[in-house]
Amino acid sequence: MKRPLTIFVILAVGLAAAIAAGLLFGAERLPIFGLSEEQRSILFDIRMPRVLLGACVGASLAVAGTGLQALLRNPLAEPYLLGVSNGAALGTMLAFVFFQNVEMSRPILAFIGAGLATAAVYQMAKSRAGMSVERIVLSGVIVTTFLSSIIVMLTTLLDAARLRSFTFWLLGDLSQATINGVYLSLAAVIIGTLILMSQARALNLMMVGERDAFDFGVDVGRVRLLVFGAASLVVGAAVAASGSVGYVGLIVPHLVRLASGSDNRTLVPFSAIAGAIFVVGADTIARTAIAPRELPVGAITALIGAPLFIYLLRRK
C-alpha cells in the first residue's frame, strides 16, 4: 500500500504544478503577485477555464483509454484510434450544423456518436476466435476513416470563418473553453471515473481473459455495457468541448502502468490525474511554443503518441 500512496502524492503535486504553470505561462507571462486588472481578466476569464477544461479533457481521455484497454485486452485501444473520438466529433458537428441554438445538443449528440462508434468497432472486431489486437485496431481505422469522410462532407456546409475554427477544433483545441464547458466536462469525468472504478476488480479479471472473468463470477455483458457507456460519456463530453485530442488514452495509461502496475483500482484514478497533467502541460506548450500564435493541443499529443504507438505495436 505504501507505493500507491507515494505515486498519488507525486501525481497530486504534479497536477498542482501543471495547473499553476498553465495559469502563469502563455502569450503573456503573468506574475504570481500584484496582477493588474487586465491580467486578472486574462487569468480568470481566459486561462482558468482553459486550464481546468484541459485537466478534465486529459482525465477523460486517459480513463477512457484505461477502461477500453482492459476491456478489450489490448494495450493499443484508445478513444482516438478506435474511432470513438471521431464518433463524438461527428455528433458534435451534427449538433453544430443543425441545432446551433441548443447548447446542450453538442455534448448529447457527441455522447451518442461516441457510443455508436464504440458499438460499431466492437461488433466489427468480434469474431468466433476472439478479438486480436490487430483486428481491433483495424476496425478502429475503418470506423475512423469512415466517420472522417462524413465529417469532411459536412464541412462543405460551413462558411469560411466557421470552417477555420472547426478545423482547429477537429485537431483538438482548448481555446474555446467556457466555464460552462468546464462544469459539464467535470461532471462527466467524475461520473465516468467512478463507474470505471466500480468495475475495476472485474476489469482486472477481464484484461486477462473474458472467459476467465466469466468463470470467476463477472457479469461480462454488464461490465462491457458500463465500461463502453462510461468511456462514451467522458469522451463525448471531452470531444464536444475540445475536439479530438489524440493519443492521450494511449500514452497516459501506459506510463502509469509502468509506475503503479496494472491493477485497475489504482490505474484508473492515477490515469485520471496523470491525463490531466499531460493535457494541461501539452496545452501550455501549444500556447507558448510559437506565441503569440497557437498550435492545436492535439498536434502536440499526437507528436508524442504516434512513436509510442509504434513502440507498443512492435514490442508485442
Binding site: 494495450p75 475495476a200 479479471l205 486477462v208 476467465d212 468463470d215 470467476f216 463470477g217
Partner: protein
Amino acid sequence: MLTALDITVKYDGHTALADISVELGDGKLIALIGPNGSGKSTLIRTLNGTVIPQKGGCVKVGGIEIGSLSRREIAAEIAVVAQENETRFPVTVEEFVLSGRFVHGSTFGWETTADKAAAKKALDECGLADYARRLMDHLSGGERQRVVLARALASEAKILLLDEPTANLDVAHQVMMFRLVRERCRAGSSAIVITHDLNLAAEFADKIIMLERGRVAASGAPTEVLTADNLHEVFGIRTLIDKNPATGNVRMTGIF
C-alpha cells in the same frame, strides 16, 4: 454436489455431447478421459453454466438449477481452470491469484486479510511461495499453469473443474497437482479433472468417465473403466493392464 442429467449439446448441427449424466458427490474426484474432440471441455463448460444444454437436460449445483443462479453465485461454488490464454499487461502472480477472489469482494473493495491468506495458502500449496512478485509473462508454461491452478484454489469454491491442468507440467508437478486436488477433496471439496495421463487418473480418481464422440463409453471405478478392451475401442491402442506394485492401483502400459 454437482449433478448433470441427460445433457445434450449441439454446435451447428454437430452433436458435441449426447445424453450425458454426471454426479459429482462431495469429497469425490472424477477423472474425465477420452480422445481429442470427444467433448471433455464442452462437458466442463456445460457443468459451470457457460454452455447451455438442449431442452430436457439440466445441471444442478447443490440441488439448484444452474440457469437460475447468477454468474457470481455460480463462481462462489465452482472454480474452473481452463486452458488459458496470454496476458497482454504486466500482471504479477499475486495480483493474478487475488483476482480469483472476485466473488468475495465488494464493489470498490480492496483485498481483506482473508483474501490475502487464501491467496498465500494457494501459492504455497502450488509451490509458488517465492513467485508472488514475479510477472506472469516472465513465467514458463508450467509455472503459469500452476498459477492458474492457484487462482482457482484461492477462490475457495468447493467444486473444482480442471481442464487439462497437467498439460504443461513436468512429472513431479503433475503428481503435485493431483495430490493437491486429492487433498482438497479430502477436506470436503470435489473435482472433475480432464487428463490424458491415464495412470495418474487411476491413482488419484474415485471414478473415471471415458468419453467418446460426445457419449459416455465407460464410467465407474478405475479398474472397471481402464480395461484393455475399453482402451482399444475408444483410443484404438493396445495396452497391457496390471497393478501398480507400489500402490495396488490399476496400471496401463502401452504396447507399441
